[in-house]
């Protein structure tokens, strides 16, 4: 039976940082990550020989990966069912179900792209900007044909810079960032200035991009993608009210990121609506403990605070867990946590800049025309959702059962936010009141045979 002091779900910036500190403090640690390599979103590919190509941020990642490396770090291991006491069932790369009963659980499942339900988004050749960045960071691949970037957010600018730097052909950048956002930026500057490195990096993207030959449209709206069996072009209205159609092989969408919080939701951890980030945040105390005692969360899965904050929050959680389990006392905890707490506060102070500058645009419900598909898996349109609401569906769970929206393999990862937006606009309630549908095990579909064959021997399967 595997009963470590700490089980971490997610091996990105937060999870790896927590693992390093927890082991330093003497805890036995086990870590699960569903991806074939550690690093999460930001440090994806940091372990590859070619990582240096993308600059020193990734060299730091290589260091993090090296320090975190050790036994009981499981790749390709997906946590599919977690009990309120932290007992976790996972499926390993050999398709065997294993069970771990940790004394404390840390959820560090990171972020996902904010889903963008716009007309034509289902076509092959449409991807999220993050996907193109992962292709570059993890696999050393760049767009082969003409790529167009559409949407809003720092990642879009960073990606453009990275792809141009590697010689990719970018046909255009179509930014949907509203003018209001640009104006209010100045007001957010004072707190942002406390983090000069990050800020200047952000601002430098724009000037670098201005020098490239890529067409650049600002404050675009009315965006749709056309094509028959795959995307062929993107159409939009520019800030002067002119319609444009740009041919493209690859259309990269981005509207910021939101927490990947299915694990916390399956555990029914309390969450709060964050109006500035326009997403739900898992509620945690300053140490990262959720509303469920003994279950912690750190990093982007608790709210979008960026990679530095994710690392610090992982460390902070590990330090408090060590105290709870008696490895260190409260004084020692306060001494060790002081620096990461201070650094995290600096990072958090920087967020208003990003949040005000880049509010979600592409994904908002006003884009959801009746025939726009909201649930990709079950192909449920905005119109069908509105009809179901008129016919009596009063909340997300009833809506799911009425329309199958959210019942497909992604379990609502792509549609839950849009459903909440539509419910809010149809019923006049706030998104925070409406919430999202219940998440139930398994967290991802897995073959019945893999569950059926697990007898009482379940513990022995754990390596």
């Amino acid at each position: 039976m595997s009963a470590p002091d700490l089980l971490i779900v997610g091996g990105g910036a937060a999870g790896l940082s927590a693992a390093i500190i927890a082991r330093e403090l003497g805890l036995s640690v086990e870590l699960l990550d569903e991806r074939p390599a550690f690093g999460g979103n930001y440090f994806a590919g940091a372990g590859n020989p070619s990582a240096g190509r993308l600059g020193e941020g990734y060299a730091q990642g290589a260091d993090l990966l090296r320090k975190a490396n050790g036994p009981r770090m499981h790749n390709g291991a997906f946590a599919w069912r977690i009990e309120p006491d932290g007992k976790t069932y996972f499926i390993d790369p050999a398709s065997k179900v294993g069970r771990i009963s940790p004394r404390r659980l840390l959820i560090a499942t990171g972020a996902q792209e904010r889903p963008v339900p716009i007309p034509g988004a289902l076509l092959p050749g449409v991807m999220y900007a993050g996907a193109a960045q992962l292709m570059l960071k993890t696999f050393g691949s760049i767009p082969a044909g003409r790529a167009v970037l559409v949407g809003s957010g720092p990642l879009l600018l960073l990606l453009a810079k990275q792809l141009l730097g590697q010689g990719a052909a970018l046909a255009a950048m179509i930014e949907t960032t509203p003018r209001a956002g640009l104006l209010t930026t100045a007001r957010s500057l004072p707190s942002a200035l406390k983090v000069p490195a990050l800020l200047s990096e952000g601002l430098s993207f724009r000037s670098a991009l201005r020098k490239s030959s890529m067409a650049w449209h600002r404050q675009a709206s009315g965006i749709f993608i056309s094509g028959r069996d795959k995307a062929g072009s993107v159409t939009f209205t520019d800030r002067h009210g002119r319609r444009h159609t740009i041919m493209a092989d690859l259309i990269l969408l981005h509207d910021g990121v939101i927490p990947n919080d299915h694990v916390a939701r399956q555990l029914k951890c309390k969450e709060t609506w964050n109006p500035r980030q326009h997403c739900f945040n898992t509620t945690v105390d300053q140490w990262g403990e959720t509303s469920r005692k003994g279950i912690f969360a750190a990093g982007d899965c608790t709210g979008i605070w960026g990679v530095e904050a994710a690392r610090r929050s992982g460390e902070i959680a590990a330090i408090e867990i060590a105290r709870q389990l008696g490895f260190i006392n409260a004084d020692e905890r306060d001494r060790r946590a002081a620096e990461p707490l201070r650094q995290r506060a600096r990072q958090v102070a920087f967020r208003p800049f990003v949040e005000t500058h880049f509010p979600p645009t592409l994904s908002r419900a006003e884009f959801a025309h009746d025939d726009t598909v909201i649930c990709r898996c079950e192909t449920v349109t905005a119109g069908e959702i509105r009809l179901a609401i008129r016919q009596g569906a009063s909340g997300p769970d009833q809506l799911k059962s009425f329309t199958r929206c959210g019942m497909g393999p992604c379990q609502g990862r792509s549609c839950a936010m849009a459903v909440a937006e539509i419910l809010a606009s149809e019923t006049g309630q706030s998104i925070g009141e409406i919430g999202r549908h219940d998440i139930r095990a398994p967290l991802k579909p897995l073959p019945l045979g893999q569950i059926a064959t697990v007898r009482d021997a379940v513990e022995e399967i754990v390596a």
Binding site: G76, L134, M135, K230, R376
Partner: protein, 110 residues
């Protein structure tokens, strides 16, 4: 209304590798032997080998679909790997001798 650029070409993988070092791993994609690099996933390999319109078709609507997120969230990259359907191609690394089958609605074949 303005139109820029020429129409998109009809057959095109979406990505290409930056380096041209040959991959040391051979997998079988619908009967075709493909060379892959050991750190690649099934999805990243397919995105630089096949036309995105030929990746898979939705079991519900029959429409063509292809990877969207590359981080295990969207489930648009589903393929059959070594006889097991609906695997997330973006989360599975290539292995020598692996057989990958693209998925089309049942009873239908490319």
């Amino acid at each position: 209304m303005t139109q820029q650029n020429k129409p998109a070409s009809s057959h095109f993988p979406l990505y290409r590798l930056l380096s041209d070092a040959p991959g040391g791993i051979v997998v079988d994609l619908d009967g075709e032997q493909l060379a892959a690099h050991s750190h690649e996933t099934v999805a990243s390999l397919m995105l630089r080998q096949i036309d995105p319109g030929q990746f898979r078709r939705s079991a519900v609507s029959g429409e063509p679909r292809a990877p969207l997120c590359m981080m295990g969230v969207c489930f648009e990259c589903l393929v059959e790997i070594d006889g097991q359907r609906n695997e997330q191609a973006c989360l599975v690394r290539v292995r020598s001798g692996m057989t990958i089958r693209r998925q089309f609605p049942r009873g239908e074949r490319q």
